[in-house]
């Protein structure tokens, strides 16, 4: 199948409407869950759902656009982290593609992989653009690590991974559970979903 045909197949109309809804899920749930004040954001739940149903490229685009759109309508600072959201989608999609989202415990492993992958991008952005701080409580840890002689880079590694680990594992589990619970008639419209549902 040629690239153009593959692209058309991967980005069918229903995939597009899924992605649009997923972008909204990311933004709305990110807002709602932040009110619960847990170490969980759920602002990439839509991205991971797209990863499971439509593959890594659709998910990467979903993540990217989520942050760009959020930057456009509310907080331009979020646009700086668009590459991170892209990596989340890519990593989740690749995990699904290679069979790492079939069982619940695999979803947990995928969550860890996603965390590590996103850190590779998030840490340089944090360090070079934002001087390593987030404006949140995690900065206490960064400060402590700096004070004990770490360089900025290593100090930030701990906070970024720590911040994201629980959230990404919960997100991966939740997405897995939801896709497993979707009616067959719906998932049949997404060829790539078979990597998870079968």
């Amino acid at each position: 199948m040629s690239l153009k045909e593959q692209l058309k197949k991967d980005f069918s109309t229903i995939t597009l409407t899924l992605m649009a809804v997923a972008i909204v899920l990311n933004i709305v749930l990110g807002q709602v869950v932040s009110l619960l004040k847990l170490p969980i954001f759920l602002d990439s739940i839509g991205t991971v759902l797209v990863a499971l149903l439509a593959g890594p490229w659709a998910a990467a685009l979903t993540g990217l656009l989520t942050n760009l759109i959020w930057g456009l309508i509310s907080d331009p600072v979020a646009a700086a982290f668009a590459p991170v959201a892209l990596i989340i989608g890519l990593a989740a999609g690749l995990c699904a593609k290679y069979g790492l989202f079939k069982k619940w415990w695999q979803a947990i492993i995928s969550g860890v992989i996603i965390t590590l992958a996103l850190s590779i991008i998030a840490i340089p952005i944090r360090v070079y653009m934002f001087g390593g701080v987030t404006g949140s409580g995690a900065d206490f840890i960064t400060a402590y690590l700096l004070a004990t002689g770490r360089d900025l880079f290593s100090a930030v590694i701990v906070t970024v991974i720590g911040d994201n680990l629980i959230d990404k594992v919960v997100t991966a589990l939740l997405a897995w559970g939801i896709v497993k619970g979707l009616p067959k008639r719906f998932t049949a419209r997404f060829p790539r979903a078979s990597a998870v549902t079968e």
Partner: protein, 296 residues
């Protein structure tokens, strides 16, 4: 040539063991208004999707038989090719908004842009469609500030601007209040008078009895009845398959056993027919009382 020609259509969704549609065959002439009735799960929505050319193209699955829309076989053409040739209106008004346009006017233009209508032809089409559904005054409003009924009319206008000769409506009034439903039916009637072939699926039995040229009843994916409203709406098969009769049809049926409905008279399928029949009974009774009261 028939506008719609279905021949031996049997369709099974992927992953399903039971066909959703079984051996369906009928033809619809241009300009007819056909109603499709059936209990939930009988296959009305699947039939609508097949009539809009979306099954099997989007859903894959197993298909036997054919659906031909104004000469185009739905197995051989993509949904994009049917845009503007067949229109489909669904139940949920808000889901049918494109989400890409900020005014009613531009929302109607969306479909025209997609099928490549030249810019200068757009305004007359849009104005005409808006006038047909009665939304001309709301042309500059955001689609998302409209009521459910208004949004449904907007969805209809957006399809009508594309001027499809065939229009399918799948439970279009399911999420509307009585006034909204009434408005929608009036618009559909206008359309049929201008020559559009209309298929409407749903539970609005009263309206169907009154205005449909023909009623097709589905049960478990099969056609069990295909005839005029007078014949279909009074058929016993309707109650057996879970669709049910209108109240006055039922009342008249029960009245026969008590001699209160003339047995030779066909069962009523509209309130006027019921009125006529019971009035006849009333006159007979009054005549009887007259005779009884008059010993001569």
């Amino acid at each position: 040539m028939a506008a719609i020609d279905i021949s031996g259509l049997t369709y099974t969704y992927p992953g399903s063991l039971v066909p959703a549609l079984r051996n369906i065959s009928f033809a619809v002439e241009p300009g007819q208004l056909v109603a499709v009735v059936g209990a939930n799960g009988a296959g009305k929505s699947s039939l609508c999707l097949a009539l809009a050319g979306l099954i099997p193209a989007l859903y894959h699955g197993q298909i036997q038989g054919s659906v031909t829309l104004n000469g185009m076989d739905t197995r051989l053409h993509s949904p994009g090719e049917f845009a503007g040739r067949v229109g489909l209106v669904l139940q949920n008004p808000t889901n049918q908004l494109s989400g890409m346009r900020y005014t009613v006017y531009e929302e109607v233009a969306f479909g025209l842009e997609n099928i490549g209508i030249p810019r200068q032809e757009m305004p007359p089409r849009i104005e005409h469609a808006l006038a047909l559904v009665g939304l001309t005054d709301l042309r500059d409003r955001s689609p998302y500030t409209l009521s459910g009924g208004q949004q449904q009319r907007l969805a209809l206008a957006s399809i009508l601007a594309m001027e499809p000769p065939i229009l399918i409506l799948d439970e279009p009034t399911a999420m509307l209040d009585p006034q909204g439903s009434q408005n929608l039916f009036e618009i559909v009637q206008k359309l049929v008078h201008t020559g559009t072939t209309v298929i409407i699926a749903g539970h609005q039995l009263e309206w169907i009895s009154r205005y449909a040229d023909r009623v097709i009843a589905l049960a478990q994916g099969e056609v069990i009845l295909d005839d005029t409203p007078a014949k279909v709406m009074a058929s016993p098969l309707l109650t057996q398959s879970g669709i049910g009769w209108l109240r006055y049809t039922l009342a008249a049926h029960q009245a026969i056993a008590r001699g209160l409905w003339p047995a030779s008279r066909p069962l009523p399928v509209t309130v006027e027919q019921a009125g006529e029949g019971f009035r006849q009974t009333n006159q007979r009774i009054e005549g009887q009382e007259q005779t009884d009261a008059d010993p001569d």
